[in-house]
Symmetry: C2
Subunit: 489 residues, 2 copies
Amino acid sequence: MRYPEPSAALLSHLSDRLGPAGFSTDPADLAPWLTDWRRRLTGTAAALVSPADAEEAAFVVAAAAAEGVAIVPQGGNSSMVAGATPAGIGADGRACALLVSMRRMRRIRSVSVADNAVVAEAGVVLADLHGAVEAEGRRFPLSLAAKGNATVGGLIATNAGGTQVLRFGPMRALVLGIEAVLPDGSMLRGLAPLRKDNRGYDLKQLLIGGEGTLGLVTAATLRLVPAIGERAVAWIGLRSADDALTLLRLLEDRLGEAVESFELVPAEGLALVLHHIPDTRAPLAEASAWNVLVEAVSPAGAVPIAQKLEAALAAAIERGLVEDATVAQSESQADALWKLRESLSEAEARDGMAAKHDIAVPVADMPGFMARAAAAVSDRFPGARPIAFGHLGDGNVHFNVRAPANSDGKAWFAATAADVSRFVHGLVTEAGGSMSAEHGIGRLKRADFLELTDPAKLAAMIAIKRALDPADIMNPGALLPLAEERARP
Amino acid sequence: MRYPEPSAALLSHLSDRLGPAGFSTDPADLAPWLTDWRRRLTGTAAALVSPADAEEAAFVVAAAAAEGVAIVPQGGNSSMVAGATPAGIGADGRACALLVSMRRMRRIRSVSVADNAVVAEAGVVLADLHGAVEAEGRRFPLSLAAKGNATVGGLIATNAGGTQVLRFGPMRALVLGIEAVLPDGSMLRGLAPLRKDNRGYDLKQLLIGGEGTLGLVTAATLRLVPAIGERAVAWIGLRSADDALTLLRLLEDRLGEAVESFELVPAEGLALVLHHIPDTRAPLAEASAWNVLVEAVSPAGAVPIAQKLEAALAAAIERGLVEDATVAQSESQADALWKLRESLSEAEARDGMAAKHDIAVPVADMPGFMARAAAAVSDRFPGARPIAFGHLGDGNVHFNVRAPANSDGKAWFAATAADVSRFVHGLVTEAGGSMSAEHGIGRLKRADFLELTDPAKLAAMIAIKRALDPADIMNPGALLPLAEERARP
């Protein structure tokens, strides 16, 4: 009896805010969603609540939280384990829970080729997502049988797998950002398509695979990859599963990560399919005890990597993108080119003092950001010399600010570096970026981190830290304020 | 003054257990490790404690926890943000903290080509890790400037990046498993090289990038990739950073994920290198405003993907691995092959009732596990017919158990399926695997999950759930016990 039934006031509050499209207590509306996909459990709910956007979703959770009313989020209702069925909540089968359907939130907010990312709301159906990004020449590399029902939110809550995990990993590996409502109704806003972000606990990892128990995902930024150029599919008969595994490693050695799928089918399984499913026929002349279905995918042409690279660069030169280029003709030439990159920090240090920053913004915005930030720094700190270099493909550069030429570098650093860093970190945060792409927070960046980070995220981090380390004995002072400094309970 | 100095009893307790190689209060031993890499902060510590193995590490944390003494973990002491420096702990600069060095834990516990995984202790230096896996024909695809100092534990605690993030992601994408001591001294044991595991909150994600504030990593299972076959390196001059980004997408469209590095260098940075670093020379005839260093890597030959696949299969046939194989010669043939795989569940359902399981074990053990489990199930449940199929490359199959032939399938299912599932889940757990590779726990698998999961993990999950959702309003009954059923505070 721990969960109360929602009060009449709560229900009318929700009905007023969400309107008839977003709120129903009609048993006919609820019925299709109260039984799980595999028809193993049937639950009860006081209402079907369908927010139209993130603000309505936050409203619903906050309203439920105020009365301690239970929420069961649901996407396509295609859970294999009844993860979205409001069963067993409240005594005597009373209709206590709010069944929160995300199916109305089905907007693709944006597709960016430059960022290789799509922002999709939680209710977007996987097959629709595939179509939307294919129209832009990209691919979302996760697929599974329920793709006509499964939604982005459900795929995240269950860390879905599918047939391309071998190459691309499960959903967790494809989620770049999440927008979610936390159980108290506060919003966790993290949709920036950052490839690198080391600002503390990666809270989205708790929501991925969290089965809706830590928050309600409202939208996500998902990783895209180039569309398929060629694919090769083979059906292979083998004597044993051991041989199948040996074959997989042989294929990977020769084809690399082009191997996207490697699906095992026993003779008995193939026989079932041939027996029960129309329009199927045996792929091989003789049945083997074990079968493997392999798919290998290549995005592009068919020449050695150096020739491929040269051809691609020739195309870029033709388009006027590139002024000049040299392709290493030997390992020692390659090493010499890498030495130029790897010596940058050392060369910079020999040249004098610099305030160093390890920043990330969305990849597509990085060229513009570097120019804007350099101008802003030069304007605010006359004579200071910004320089940016590094991992452009990740949207991560080391944006360092050198002391003015002919100045006393040490004195400048002592007097100004902290202000420069606070200023640069502020610019990055305003641009939706991360003030720590890869170095973390530690002790050196803690003050700026505490000042600039989202209060909802900080509160959640502190709560998790308290939950796992109530005495605050693990690396105190790194990342988070010391326990006695923490203002918020 | 919140942190006490360790008592004399605690220090002698540690000294007794760890011996002279693992415990020192000699200022000369401590000094090199009290100042951070960038020489910005110097701290104090009551002792340098260097556990030799995970059990000693757990002993240290438990002993410290008993007195509320602070622990600062340290690997290679190469943090860019003083993340491993015991500064600011305890009032008046008193030496309160234990500086816990992981440098003695430098064993590579195993390298498995079949699992594409290495198990390395926290103190293993990155360059040593590279060498150890190269000796086995594999590659650990993360590298950075501090590779001669940085350790596996520190790379995990800081979610390190480097020059190959573009293709392989940061450390988070390469960590398959973690062994760690939680702040209360309990061990989180998760080294099984599972590619898929959806048993609740992925706690290792909190330790990755957690900067040592949630636990002490003692070892990790890391993902390996095939060794490099060919690489191509180019230096490219461009007019703008915008053009660089456009070039990146052009290269990715033509070369796919072969593009591993894409490093931006401004004219000024290159000039600094050429000026300060000996044995460097300008790579291009004319200086451009911007430069990009590209590395593209291919693991293998240079033919179209279908030819590559055919050649690889021919080699497998020659080795006696493969009995027969067919490579699709058209898209419709490819679709027909895929249909055979995708129809398995439907064909199975048409054939009768089955207890379904979605299990993972380490990839290398899957052939053996399927045989052992099928024999055990047939032995325990006479007549029941196990069948396994699916994602062998991920170490994940759907291991289903069909009702005995000519039985009343529904009656068998009602009477026996729960016992069969509990038995199969037990076998999987005994084999170090996951009873939920991709489907999650939901409501259907909760009883088995609660019974079979590691108590330390379950307690941490409940603590996090409580911290973020104290009223337990989010999807109650899924994944975790309802709040009122939770035994442990």
